[in-house]
């Protein structure tokens, strides 16, 4: 099992290799958004940049940007989410949004304990 990291803006990052990772939304993120009804994903080969929006998710409450924890190139997107965004609500840590390759920069990544601390501050 690869190590998972988290961001202060509630994305998770799972590294597949040193320069390749999958990114998704944390359980806290999906819980506070509520039932998701729509998702916009980037396209393969798009560039993503640390702390810049690369996708957005929509629930009946609101639309939120998803910020990239990494700078790199999108090598795959999770097509299934486009028709069934509710997968993110059901299995947030399985429902990856994009796979990012050629990673050249990482934003602030927290380990599980650090992220838990962020969550307790949010409470």
């Amino acid at each position: 099992m690869n190590k998972t990291y988290y961001t202060r803006t509630h994305e998770w990052v799972e590294f597949i290799s040193e320069s390749k990772a999958r990114v998704g939304l944390t359980d806290f993120a999906q819980e506070s958004m509520g039932d998701l009804v729509f998702i916009n994903l980037p396209e393969v080969d798009d560039e993503v940049i640390v702390d810049e929006s690369f996708a957005d998710v929509e629930s009946v409450k609101a639309v939120e940007d998803v910020l990239s924890p990494l700078t790199g190139i999108v090598s795959a997107i999770n097509d299934d989410l486009l028709d069934t965004p509710e997968l993110i609500n059901q299995e947030p840590y399985e429902a990856w949004l994009v796979e990012i390759d050629n990673i050249t920069e990482k934003g602030e990544l927290l380990d599980e304990d650090e992220y838990k601390k962020v969550l307790s501050e949010e409470e």
């Binding site: 506070s32 039932d35 009804v37 929509e58 009946v60 409450k61 609101a62 639309v63 939120e64």
Partner: protein, 478 residues
Amino acid sequence: MKLIFEKSRSGRSCDILPPSDVPEYIIDKAYTRESECRLPEMAENDISRHYTEIVKNTHGVNDGFYPLGSCTMKYNPKINDEIANLNGFKNIHPLQPEHTIQGALEALSLAEEYFCKITGMDRMSFQPAAGAQGELTGLLLIRAYHEERKDFKRNKIIIPDSAHGTNPATATMAGYTVITIESKEDGLVDLEKLKEVVDDDTAGLMLTNPSTIGLFEKDILEITSIVHDNGGLIYYDGANLNAIVGLVRPGDMGFDVIHLNLHKTFSTPHGGGGPGSGPVGCKDILAKYLPTPTVEKSADGYKFKYDNKNSIGTMKNFYGNFLVVLRALTYVISLGQDGLKDTARNAVLNANYMMHNLKDIYQVAFDGPCMHEFVISIEKLKKEQGITALDIAKSLLEYGIHPPTMYFPNIVAEALMIEPTETESRETLDEAINIFKLIYDKAKKTPIKLKEAPNNTYVGRLDEVRAARNPILKYKFK
């Protein structure tokens, strides 16, 4: 309730037409529909009852309190409709010769004069159909300005994170990259962050003042000069003008271009599909880019002016929703300068009165006096009782109150945004305050009741998630 298509009976109608006394003309098949248009066929009284039933099952400003924050739902005086129904206004055509519609053109010209005076702008176009189109028009003016100066590197629009969702959407539609700046703790624009992002690639800043959370941007003059000093322009979103109309002018704050929502601030009906009206006003530096036609006064009367080579073009046919403009003009003339000032003052007073009476029970998101609206957060009740902003909103329906705006602005968790407007009496406000308190008590004692609300409305809790995921948008004939 049955749909009108289900009530339709073949052959039924409201008209008895005389036999045709001219020969039938057969239209070439190339120009006709492939299948017949299946319009509902009904008797007049059934149609009347159908729509009356729909009216009974809705909630409008004429039914009761409608404190929808950010969208100013005020009472629409009947005199507005009376004027808009005058024959000389209602039964004219935009292609009629100008000398036959001088009165209508004079009304448009007068509306431009008054609304420019109110906002501190130099020229105004009434063409945009409503707010979103007004925003786009405004940004296209900014774009045209930079492009004419060959300043092509300006490709960014700065927008605070408290802004209406339409602002980033508009900037994107106009071909710009959006730079979002985080608000300060107190909900206002962060001057330091603004200074950091403003650059020679900044095309402009989009702002609403008072802000989305009902606070006046007290540093507005500094904000606008930071952007101006860097060569950018500043756009005013008129959604919240109701709090300051007649008292403070966006033009004096340093804004270069604005849109108004006549259907919010100036009491023309809205909701249910409009039509709205989103005029765009601007300073002289942008006037030549306004959509055509403009109305100009000349020695021999009023004229439409189409030949403006710098214009961004036409945003909507002819001159926008003219009858809506007339209603707004009527409103402004009826109230006069002092009356308009009173509406703003009373809008602010009413919001503060409600906030003051609720602040000990509900968590108010930002301290201090508010402008025309205020935001409460249901976060604490959610943690203690599992009651969300949605539950409070649905419970208000049981008491004949339209819910406030929910889950907006995004910077406040479990937000309810309340805007009472100036058109509500103290009695109405007191009643609403009591209902808010009652619902809070219920949330504490019997939260399950709130989860089930509303029980006495035409429909109960709708499955919003399913509706959003699998919308059924058209009727399928059996």
